[in-house]
């Protein structure tokens, strides 16, 4: 069965510092992997996705993620965090034909301090 683990419930970083959010997945086949961000009172916005090919994926707002099959991980990174990045971040794995049945992790809340 598919599952996603985000080990960090809450992370606090200083503005300008680098960021890494962890995500581990469990899936029997080649996974489709996603990172979404949810700002307070908003829906989820797609940051980036991995379907195949290059294991380092670039997304919006200078985010990137690296798929490591050997570690079953898809960690999200950003070199320099902005105050506007404070939000909840969700990693998801797609079952079936890709994105039509997503299994989400429990999210990581990011706080950015000045």
């Amino acid at each position: 069965a598919q599952s996603v683990t985000q080990p960090d419930i809450h992370i606090t970083v200083s503005e300008g510092a680098s960021l890494e959010l962890r995500c581990n997945y469990s899936y029997g086949a080649t996974p489709y992997l996603f990172w979404y961000v949810q700002s307070p009172g908003q829906g989820l916005q797609l940051l980036l996705k991995y379907f195949s090919g290059d294991t380092l994926v670039q997304g919006i707002k200078d985010f990137e993620a690296e798929f490591k099959r050997s570690q079953s991980s898809f960690n999200l990174r950003k070199p320099s965090v902005h105050w506007s990045d404070a939000a909840e971040y969700f990693c998801a794995v797609g079952a079936g034909s890709g994105a039509n049945n997503l299994f989400f992790g429990t999210g990581t809340r990011l706080t950015v301090i000045p």
């Binding site: 996603f34 989820l44 890709g98 994105a99 429990t106 999210g107």
Partner: protein, 114 residues
Amino acid sequence: DTAVSQTPKYLVTQMGNDKSIKCEQNLGHDTMYWYKQDSKKFLKIMFSYNNKELIINETVPNRFSPKSPDKAHLNLHINSLELGDSAVYFCASSQLARRNSPLHFGNGTRLTVT
């Protein structure tokens, strides 16, 4: 130019009532979804419709009935509301025929049952 819109944004009602949440997408997508986000921010798929046909129906009480009058609309009707139904309900859409198509989410409907 909202892509996926849900109404209402907030819904407060008493136990035992029947309520509906509406969702519309103007992206031309062929597939729509309902997700439930609980108080711990965990997101779980409830239903998915492709071209007005139900394709995903997770273990959800039959008090929840989705209805898709056309592929741009997916409404959620809930009968005999219970306290445990309190959550944020997200509508989403995607183009299933295009494997790389990610989900686009609405801003959510916060349902509070008292």
